[in-house]
């Protein structure tokens, strides 16, 4: 370091940039909160957020109607009323004329199976030889039907494929643990017994998280294997399952 001869300069006047109020030199200023108060304030904010979120969740929590048969899904033998209160995978009743008139959407797969739906409830989004994708009202739920020759894939393998794909969108997808949301009775696709998995998880893609309810129903008749995937925003679970129930019930296997 080279020794200089210049004396320490005298104090200077405050710059115009800091002329408002009393002058306080840079560096001689302090944070307005003590560390303890700052941490306590932050912790209080978090506690308030937790309390409010839990209160909101408690208020908005979906409730299941009472009675012998919860909101869904009800299967044959478990529904005292004999009807379907709104769910998937129930054994279909006779195909009434009135119902047939309502089913104004149709897709026949390259393997001979037939899927029918009401266009006022479902919008066809995409169709291929072996799959069709339907969107429910306001796109809050969707139904994906995949068919494969039994020689190419089993129903279980088709369902496992769908589950693996869904887990890329909702990594925490797991079996539905709510006892009020379990399958009651025998799951069916058309007139054939099926295997059903009810799942819950959270869609987490593109900076978004949304609670999902998922049903994977699969069956086979020895010639074809079928998996039907229902994905619904949790808030519209009941109405989605009810709408899907009709499509599953009206499924026609190849003759």
């Amino acid at each position: 370091m080279a020794e200089g001869t210049a004396p320490l300069p005298p104090a200077y006047a405050p710059s115009s940039a800091h002329a408002h109020g009393h002058f306080q030199p840079l560096g001689d200023r302090w944070a307005s909160l003590t560390p303890m108060r700052r941490v306590l304030l932050f912790a209080a904010v978090l506690v308030a957020v937790v309390v409010i979120a839990n209160l909101l969740a408690a208020v908005r929590q979906p409730t299941s109607p009472g009675g012998d048969c919860p909101s869904q899904p009800c299967g044959p033998g478990s529904n005292p009323g004999g009807g379907n209160p709104g769910g998937v995978i129930v054994k279909p009743g006779p195909h009434s004329t009135a119902t047939a008139l309502l089913l104004d959407g149709q897709w026949k797969s390259a393997l001979g199976s037939l899927v029918e739906w009401e266009t006022r409830k479902w919008t066809e989004s995409a169709r291929k030889d072996r799959s069709i994708f339907l969107l429910g009202s306001k796109s809050e739920f969707s139904l994906f039907v995949v068919i494969a020759p039994a020689t190419e894939s089993t129903p279980e393998a088709l369902a496992a494929d769908r589950l693996a794909f869904l887990k890329t969108l909702a990594p925490d997808l797991a079996d539905e643990s709510d006892p009020k949301r379990q399958t009651l009775g025998i799951p069916m696709i058309g007139n054939r017994q099926a295997t059903a998995s009810l799942l819950a998880g959270n869609y987490t893609k593109d900076q978004d998280v949304e609670p999902w309810s998922v049903a994977l129903v699969s069956a086979g008749d020895g010639r074809i294997s079928v998996v039907i995937q229902l994905v619904a925003a949790d808030a519209v679970r009941d109405s989605a399952f009810k709408a899907a129930d009709q499509v599953l019930g009206e499924f026609l296997w190849p003759e």
Binding site: M1, L8, G27, D28, V45, A53, A57, D172, E176, P211
Partner: protein, 390 residues
């Protein structure tokens, strides 16, 4: 007085040059950019330090409480998720970083007597833009509509490129509105405005998600570990990344158009605001693509790496900005440094700890219990003599 080897200006014989922050006592002569971070000289410039980068105007002692607060937030998220209270954990992840930033803005008095203007153009603007963009994007594309097939080219274009670019542009609008105000003339101002706007944007977005989630009940079913990954991604990694790229880009803008000093040449091409904006967009888009196409943990890791790069970038912008605040004014009277609490002549850097005096709170707390001098002003004549005689 002695002459500093680096800047050539006179400085009292202390540990650091009060004009350029160069280490003097026993340190080998340094040339080029000094390696100690100007806002926290005890840290290396290229070190990964969250608190001193996102909250650079805090004195050293105060940074500990911000680190502690961040730790509390992370523990709260993980703990709530572990006991199944996922909606509450999501709400905490949405609020934690923006709340810390709000406390910081108040704490160091970034407002320069215009709190409504600053808060409105940064945090409120960011939150409002975040809410609008989130609601619009959700209305345009339902998550349940995406389950029929894998992510397609259209999804990549809209969610991977288009939406992130719109988000980044909106985050910048509020801070840029403050660029016209000559009161905010420090590079630090621009960096903090950019970071504040970004964290409140993402916080509002996450809050909407959390609110939506409350419809599923207090403890909706689901696996815990993937949820913790989501919380850490959306609650910490992504806000830090967004704050860093937005802060660095805004810092470059301020360096170019608001800082009164010697240009942004030290940042190389990144001193050009257009290049800085493009770099910010690339990093943010890569993070969005990672969220779109990678599984949760891999996406978190990619975002953490990108966030680390962005954090170092922001550090360098702040550092260069502070060094370029070298002024040609004379050395002033002694003051007590808020960082090390020792007396130093008033200029650009503390002669004792080397911190940039601009990287300290703008406000004043009267009767600070840590100030043992009994005076917060510039009246410590004895110390002044010690400094000048030294």
């Amino acid at each position: 007085m002695i002459q500093c080897d680096r800047c050539g200006n006179p400085t009292p014989p202390m540990r650091f040059c009060v004009q350029c922050g160069n280490g003097l006592a026993g340190a080998p002569p340094a040339h080029g950019i000094r390696s100690e971070f100007a806002a926290a000289p005890h840290e290396h410039l290229l070190g990964l330090h969250l608190a001193s980068t996102l909250f650079p105007q805090l004195p050293r002692a105060d940074m500990e409480s911000f680190r502690l607060a961040l730790g509390i937030a992370a523990v709260a998220m993980v703990g709530l998720a572990a006991v199944g209270l996922y909606p509450a954990a999501l709400a905490v992840s949405a609020v934690a970083v923006p709340a810390l930033m709000a406390i910081y803005l108040h704490d160091v008095d970034v407002y320069e007597d215009e709190p409504m203007l600053v808060v409105g153009a940064t945090m409120l603007w960011g939150a409002a833009a975040g809410i609008v963009v989130t609601l619009l994007s959700r209305a345009a594309q339902s998550s349940t509509a995406s389950v029929g097939s894998s992510t397609g080219p259209t999804d990549l274009l809209t969610a991977g490129f288009g939406l992130p670019l719109i988000q980044l542009a909106l985050m910048a609008v509020g801070p840029l509105a403050l660029l016209r105000n000559r009161k905010f003339n420090d590079v630090l101002d621009g960096a903090i405005f950019g970071a504040s706007s970004a964290v409140s944007f993402l916080g509002a977005r996450a809050l909407i998600v959390a609110l939506d989630f409350t419809r599923a009940g207090v403890a909706p079913p689901g696996e815990t570990l993937p949820r913790i990954v989501v919380l850490l991604t959306f609650g910490i990694a992504l806000p830090v990344l967004a704050a860093s790229v937005s802060g660095a880009a805004m810092g470059s803008v301020w360096l170019r158009w608001r800082s009164s000093l010697r240009g942004a040449s030290s940042l190389g091409v990144f001193g050009n605001p257009l290049v800085a904006g493009a770099a910010a967009a690339v990093i943010y888009v890569l993070a969005s693509l990672a969220l779109l196409v990678l599984p949760g943990l891999a996406a978190l890791l990619v975002i953490a790496v990108l966030g680390a790069i962005a954090l170092v970038w922001l550090r360098v912008v702040i550092h260069v900005g502070l060094l370029q605040e070298l002024s040609e004014r004379p050395i002033g009277p002694p003051i007590r440094c808020a960082n090390c609490r020792r007396m130093t002549p008033h200029h650009t850097f503390c002669g004792e700890c080397g911190v940039s005096l601009r990287a300290l709170p703008k406000g004043t707390r009267r009767g600070d219990p840590r100030d043992t001098s009994g005076a917060m002003g510039v009246t410590d004549a004895g110390a002044a003599r010690e400094v000048s005689d030294g």
